[in-house]
């Protein structure tokens, strides 16, 4: 059973116990720098499914490597970024996108900043409109000045 297990383990555990290979490896890279740059940008937007929130660009996992290679193959085949993303989403769901798409499920996610911006600005504008007229405070009366002198006097006198 020994090495048989090793084979199984190797396949199973690539995900968690990788050989050390961060991010894109020299062997994976495309010759054309423009296409390679596209691949890098795409990779940064896709989640490595077996890692904790890392993009496949940053991840060391074998799975991320496979995805990087896959993306480059499809780029070479002439697919657009949108096509590649659509293909991956169709297979792995929205989970693979680090920037979730805007739809009913994520309405609140994308809407919150906008909503708060509107509400907050609104509240401030309302407050400014309703603000009491700013008056110069009436000067201190004689009695007040006297009390004040009495209180502060100890330091000055």
């Amino acid at each position: 059973m020994g090495r048989k297990f090793l084979a199984l383990a190797a396949v199973l555990f690539f995900a968690v116990m990788p050989s050390l290979a961060f991010a894109v490896e020299p062997g994976e890279m495309l010759k054309d720098p423009k296409l390679e740059a596209r691949a890098r940008t795409l990779s940064q937007q896709l989640r490595c499914l077996v890692c904790q929130g890392e993009s496949i660009e940053d991840s060391q996992a074998q799975l991320a490597h496979d995805f990087r290679v896959l993306i480059r193959q499809r780029i070479k085949a002439g697919e657009s970024n949108a096509q590649i993303k659509a293909f991956l989403v169709s297979r792995y769901g929205d989970f693979i996108l680090l920037k979730p798409p805007f739809k009913a499920d994520t309405l609140l996610l994308w809407g919150t900043p906008v909503l708060l911006l509107v509400l907050g600005s609104g509240a401030i504008i309302m407050a400014v409109r309703r603000r009491r007229p700013m008056r110069k405070p009436a000067s201190l009366g004689a009695t007040e000045e006297a009390r004040l002198a009495e209180l502060v006097g100890t330091e000055e006198g």
Binding site: M1, G2, R3, K4, F5, L6, A7, L8, A9, A10, V11, L12, F13, A15, V16, V50, L63, D66, F67, L70, R91, K136, P137, A138, S139, L140, E144, R147, L148, L151, V152, E155
Partner: protein, 370 residues
């Protein structure tokens, strides 16, 4: 001694309550003092900023008026009669709180401590435990002493050599690996040391002869009289590779050199016999094929492999390694429910084997499934 200290602590805690109760409180004037001080300081600050030109004269005047009003308001919060005398606390209330402190603090702390504490257990620092007479020394203490010695004299290779079998006896395989490698480095490589190092690596890999270990055994066996163990492990490596002929060859060589009465002969014979019946292992090509698959295909292949393993364990559950692998596999595949179910079945099947149960439990903890 301990109880004396605990009593002292409790006393200090109670004192912290009783002391302020017994002191004369501050006067009422002090209640507003911080507010008054604040606005006074603010007036000073405004005056300073006015002088230095940070504030324009108009700004300074307006700010002064505002601050002065607030100063007057806070100063007037206390009437002159109140200023002098401190209000007395009702005696009954003070007594009540004092008694509360005297009773509540010890009751809660001693009550809780008696449930969760271990007052009878002394400290047990390592240095003191190592300081025992040699005839009372357990293996553990002996190991610890050698370790301490090595920390002082890291160049002493013999120390590492002594430790290897001791570690193995204690089940500390990883430490054994380290010690064996150190011994080899400090004292130089010999066939014996290479074999020992390789052996520890095999144990660390849960019985698999890894490539590193294999290399060591090959080196060790290069001489005219290879160490017996090296032969054994070379045979094991070949059998794990599915190379029955080579395995049998090594083990036959070993058999020839084993003394007649050696207890190992019977086992070795059984192993040679088992070679004939073993199922073929996956070829390197097969492994490579899996690695080269697309993620989806690989997923399917892995599922198949895992299912096969599960089926085998369902027939015969007396295989710790198998269970550990299965649980791990499910976990990696994110099938937590199946992993839990497998754990439960494994516990049921292996119920009589305490050691196996320990490993199962350890894995469950490691994977967060317990």
């Amino acid at each position: 001694m301990l109880w004396g200290l605990l009593a002292l602590f409790t006393g200090a805690a109670v004192f912290a309550i009783l002391w302020p109760l017994a002191r004369r409180p501050r006067g009422r004037a002090e209640h507003v003092a911080p507010d008054v001080a604040f606005y006074k300081a603010k007036l000073e600050e405004i005056a300073r900023e006015g002088e230095s030109g940070v504030l324009s004269q108009e700004e300074a005047e307006a700010a002064r008026t505002e601050a002065a009003r607030r100063l007057l308001k806070s100063a007037d919060a206390v009437t002159p009669e109140e200023t002098a005398k401190a209000p007395a606390s009702p005696r009954l209330r003070l007594r009540l709180v004092a008694i509360l402190g005297l009773v509540f603090i010890p009751a809660v702390s001693l009550g809780l401590y008696s449930v969760i504490g271990n007052p009878s257990m002394p400290d047990d620092p390592l240095a003191a435990r190592l300081d025992v007479s040699p005839n009372k020394m357990t293996l553990q203490v002996a190991i610890a002493k050698v370790e301490a010695h090595l920390r002082q004299h890291p160049e002493d290779g013999r120390g590492y050599e002594v430790l290897v079998p001791a570690y193995l006896k204690e089940g500390r395989v990883e430490d054994a690996v380290r010690a064996a490698s150190m011994a080899m480095r400090k004292l130089g490589a010999t066939p014996e040391r290479e074999t020992v190092y390789g052996e520890t690596l095999v144990y660390a890999a849960h019985g698999v002869v890894t490539d590193d270990a294999h290399k060591l055994f090959v080196q060790a066996a290069a001489g005219p009289t290879p160490p017996l163990k090296a032969l054994f492990f070379l045979g094991l490596a070949a059998s794990q590779d599915g190379d029955k002929a080579t395995a049998a060859n090594y083990w036959q060589k070993l058999m020839a050199r084993l003394p007649e009465k050696s207890p190992g002969r019977a086992e070795l014979k059984a192993r040679i016999a088992a070679l004939e019946n073993a199922s073929p292992a996956p070829k390197a090509a097969e492994v490579a094929a899996i690695a080269g698959m697309s993620p989806a295909q690989r997923q399917a292949t892995i599922h198949k492999m895992v299912d096969r393993l599960a089926a085998r364990l369902a027939r015969n559950g007396q295989d710790v390694e198998g269970w550990l692998r299965l649980v791990r596999a499910y976990k990696v595949m994110n099938e937590t429910d199946k992993a839990r179910a497998a754990l439960a079945t494994a516990r049921h099947d292996l119920g009589n084997d305490a050691k196996a149960m320990g490993r199962i439990d350890a894995l469950a903890r490691e994977l967060g499934l317990s």
